[in-house]
Amino acid sequence: MSERFEPRIVAFVCTWCTYAGADLAGTSRYVYPPNVRLIRVPCTGRVDASFILKAFESGADGVLVSGCHPGDCHYTSGNLHARRRWNVFRELLRFVGIGDDRLAFSWVSAAEGRKFADLVCDLTERVRAAGPFDGYGRMSYIAEALAAECGQQGPAESPDDRDGREGRA
């Protein structure tokens, strides 16, 4: 396997700070890897725990959540509520087996184009080092075993995740 693993990273970014920061990174022509798919949300406070799970379910190898620095929230305290949530959800995900190497949180302001580019570079390398997130793939073997037990052929899980995998190195 000579080909390098290109991780898929989903980033939930707030529209007021990090999205603008990512924009600045682009207009400033900072180079960062194309592995990140940005999903713009009004505020990090909008990022429900199920968004993060859904991203992993849908084939993400890593997830980033990023928004305004404390004190800068467009809605005063959305990011502070979000911070509390991450404090706990991050621990819970670790406890069920999705470790810190696949999950990142950051504050990136509209002025921090450089920081955004660096962040994405670092995160991409970190997730690359962690390798493909195959947790759901392993899960589908359990599903197949269960389905076979009940006398069923064919796919036990929806095929979309694994199709995504097939197209990749």
Binding site: A147, E149, C150, G151, Q152, Q153, G154, P155, A156, E157, S158, P159, D160, D163
Partner: protein
């Protein structure tokens, strides 16, 4: 015909013989879950039916009455993909059939109350049109039951017309004998397929028992006695005539509206069809569903024919003891008592149907008088 016996210490040999003949074996095994459970294990819950290989034969546990999880899922899987759909960009959508593919299977050690549910469900799955998945798994699967040697306070098969040594739904029934052997009763043509696995009873002690009837009064061997809990005769008519009785409110008050009873029930068969996946690639799955869930009947408009737990609880009881009998001529319950055992709130169908039976009796009496 020569009576057949099974020496229970030869169980491993029997299972191996069946496996060698090409059958997959499903049997009740003690699960290891109690190791991981944070609370003390509830012993009864640890026995479940699972596919077993030679390494598992020693774990086969024939003592649970009945097992925490029954055999329903081997005929009606909890979740089953039935259609695969694909639609690629710029191409038209395609659907493909996913057919059931159960290997020839012997379920060994089921309880008569679990097996009795099979012919009951045959009625709904074969009326008007045949349900392919159900029929296929029924065809592929032989069921060997064991007459119960023990029962508990939740057991009420005899009140439903069943018995701890009923052969309904079984292809063979094993009846434990005082000498530690099991007498084998083969049932019907399908049962004959099992003859090859059992030894002829050389001693010829027991007379051949060809009767496939239920509730055999002269109980052979060590079959337990399940005392009658209620007289079912007035139940259906009481339910039909007392749709708005306050008994339903009282009975349902403690009900928390989970699906534990329906999922454990050998006769509950309601299901959902859902698509999972994306527009490009998805599976249509058939999943167990429960009439106890609020959204079971809820329309997208928000209208719900059964918005209250009282109505949903009544539906469950009425479906089992009035609607299904009216439609299909048999009660949708085998008296296994699993719903009573699993209910987190201690709601007892046995108790409630008992109350209905008592009321029905009184009404019947009035009608006669």
């Amino acid at each position: 015909m020569t009576p057949l016996t099974l020496k229970i210490d030869r169980l491993g040999d029997l299972l191996a013989k069946m496996a060698a003949a090409g059958f997959r074996i499903v049997a009740p095994v003690a699960s290891a879950e109690s190791d991981t459970s944070a609370t003390a294990p509830r012993p009864r819950q640890a026995v479940r039916f699972a596919v077993v290989g030679p390494q598992d034969y020693a774990r086969v546990d024939l003592t649970a009455t009945p097992a925490a999880e029954g055999i329903k899922r081997f005929f009606l899987p909890q979740s089953e993909a039935v259609v695969r759909m694909r639609q690629n960009e710029g191409q038209s959508a395609q659907v493909s059939d996913i057919s059931p593919d159960a290997p020839p299977t012997i379920i060994f050690g089921a309880r008569p109350c679990d097996a009795a549910a099979l012919p009951v469900l045959d009625r709904v799955f074969s009326w008007d049109s045949d349900d392919r998945s159900w029929s296929h798994r029924r065809q592929q699967t032989l069921v060997i039951t064991i007459a119960c040697q023990s029962s508990d306070a939740a057991c009420f098969c005899t009140s439903i017309g069943g018995a701890p040594d009923s052969t309904a739904g079984s292809d063979a029934l094993l009846v434990p004998q005082d000498d530690g052997t099991m007498q084998v009763r083969l049932v019907g043509e399908r049962g004959e397929k099992l003859r090859q696995f059992f030894d002829a009873d050389d001693a010829g002690s027991a007379a051949p028992r060809e009767d496939a009837t239920t509730g055999d009064s002269g109980k052979a061997g060590q079959v337990t006695v399940v005392p009658p809990r209620f007289d079912i005769s007035g139940v259906r008519s009481w339910i039909e005539n007392n749709f708005d009785d306050k008994l339903w409110d009282q009975a349902a008050l403690a009900c928390l509206g989970c699906g534990a009873c329906t999922y454990g029930c050998p006769t509950c068969h309601c299901f959902d069809l859902v698509d999972e996946g994306t527009e490009q690639s998805s599976l249509r799955r058939r999943n167990w569903d429960s009439c106890q869930f609020r959204n079971f009947t809820e329309h997208a408009s928000g209208h719900n024919p059964r918005p209250w737990q009282t109505q949903r609880y009544r539906q469950r009881i009425a479906h089992k003891f009035a609607y299904f009998p009216e439609r299909f001529g048999t009660t949708l319950c085998t008296g296994c008592g699993r719903c009573v055992r699993v209910c987190p709130a201690g709601v007892s169908l046995l108790e409630i149907v008992g109350r209905i039976a008592a009321k029905g009796k009184i009404e019947e009496g009035r009608a006669d008088g």
